[in-house]
Symmetry: D3
Subunit: 143 residues, 6 copies
């Protein structure tokens, strides 16, 4: 039975990591409270500059407590946005990853279904609005 | 100065609507508590079957109280998902519309910024996961 | 050999369905003249409200005879549009599903090839038009 | 009032075209039975190699009679696929262009509405199938 | 004549910027050797955390000399990748911005045309590969 | 273990090819200096008209020496654009194929990482620019 996705680089195993990469791996496990380093991060570790940039961005936006930032959104809301974007882009790894994160935060199958129902509805209306080239309604003045 | 978007059909004016279309227009204004019918709905009114299907779906998912359904999500969370999808698809009408809806629900520029920051972050990681063809991590068993 | 897509919820087996879900499952098989319920519908059955909304929309638009609606399009044309959209979005399940539906309607490999050739051509021109930010030509007045 | 799309190159005016570009411009007008060269082709004329490649591909696939090819699809079906792809990608120029082509072929607002309704429905189901990572159903053997 | 894109927040004017935002504005002008702050950055300034994250990422990846990093790619190659992505996504602001950057680096209309021709070709083949669900060829072992 | 991608047509084996298809297969191997015909081309061979159109386009744009054209871009730059587009679209076959091509041209894991880092960055900024509906900056006059 053929595989149909073939990773294009060899991810860095946790045991192989040294220096800054090892520090980031440890920070990922500590911040996300997980006991393994997900494949995305082990793959980005083949390019340590990018590993650091993406982790800094994700940590700041998705784990605000860890950087002393006050977020306006709940953790589940943040993961729901992530899942909606990933479903829209059809990114398999990302859908699996953000579904797992939502499950860990306690989301039920029903809640997951509601997120995907809403995301898919707006993929429908987006195609309609663009397909008819609908002009925006007049908006309230900017804040 | 040239326009660069040209609506491809003539939207139905509110005063022109009759029968089922007029009923749906009234329901849209009542349900959304607005005093005009947005251009999307007046455009879909050129195809009344589709107007009814899309309005039924949107009313059920986005205005659960109006249909006696219990939603697991807050109204602002639902609109944030809509904005994240619309930003990902680059749909101008939709971005304007869901931003206006979020403003009406009280979202600040800061909160809007956080939604777009998260949505854009995951457009970045989606491209990385797909660009490296990363294999999913092992997931917890399904519920 | 690792799998690389992992369903995120457990689909509802046909034998498990009761009440409204069982009725919709029966309607799907009758309307589509198939002897099993495809995975999309068994998955949506984990969220019965969405199952009903999506099935109502799809039945109305894709099986107009079943709802007494007069369609302007042939059944094969409707499935070709579905396949073109699914190829554009890169949705694996959807490409497989709409290809199977086209085959069942009698489409040859040659006809399938023509649909995909046209869909892919316009993915090329879309990128050119957007990449140069080309202004629309003046259009004829709206009907 | 600000414009919000700015063409990134200066299109070639019809009167400026010489040699192979002038020949292709003439062929476009003759084949499409129009009396001007649309902006897409005048823009591609800034890169004559690409003008020739894209025109050859489009002429072969969309104007089969002009090249003595037998198509399995009706002209309106071909334009409907083009519109569905363009709506899915949100390409303004392309939506305007293929809507104009469908109008010229006699498509009514109702028929246009049906194409967009179907295209948008499958943008919804694509997001659901990808958002749940649904496994394909078992397909019939290939032809 | 109606506008059809409406900015959803009021960008921060250069004269309004203070503190960290003013520092980043100055760094943007110095690093990019331009005498104004582009609208993207003035918009992100409504969310200073995001302004800092996106600027750090862009400065590191696109202006490696400014951070003492050795890039494997030429500046024009980097901007070509940016334009190809923006054309694929149909992002107007981004296409305009990266075209301007390529012009500043000396790219001719011919070179711009070649980038867009290649980007659009692969949007065509992407739709074909996904539309047929083509299995990957066997790849050489990973490095 | 279920497969999750199912090719929708049976590709043409090299030994089966005759006439024009066999000639193109030979030209592909000669031009690309490979000893097998990749699955994309064997699949397109089920529709010989499309095989010829796509191969002519790809050969002209990606193998300019083979057609006596002068390209402004390096071979690696061309493949990097191809990879960036494929990662943006999430096309598995295409990502695998263009990664293999880049490897063959000598690209290191580090260089591959830089391409994907840049492509993913601009998927992030594209979503921000579209999500805020940012107006283009004033551009320099067209060349």
């Amino acid at each position: 039975m053929p595989e149909n996705r073939i990773a294009t680089v060899r991810p860095v195993a946790e045991a192989e990591a040294t220096g800054r990469v090892a520090e980031i791996f440890a920070d990922i496990k500590r911040t996300k409270q997980i006991d393994f380093v997900p494949a995305l991060w082990r793959t980005l570790a083949t390019n340590p500059v990018e590993l650091e940039l993406v982790w800094t961005t994700l940590k700041t936006l998705m784990h605000p407590d860890a950087v002393g930032r006050r977020s306006q959104l709940e953790p589940t809301t943040r993961e729901m946005i992530a899942l909606a974007v990933s479903a829209t882009n059809g990114c398999s790894y990302c859908v699996n990853s953000h579904t797992a994160a939502l499950r860990k935060l306690g989301a039920s199958t029903e809640m997951l279904g509601e997120v995907l129902a809403i995301a898919s509805l707006f993929n429908m209306t987006n195609a309609l609005a663009d397909g008819y080239q609908i002009e925006p309604d007049v908006l309230p003045p900017l804040e």
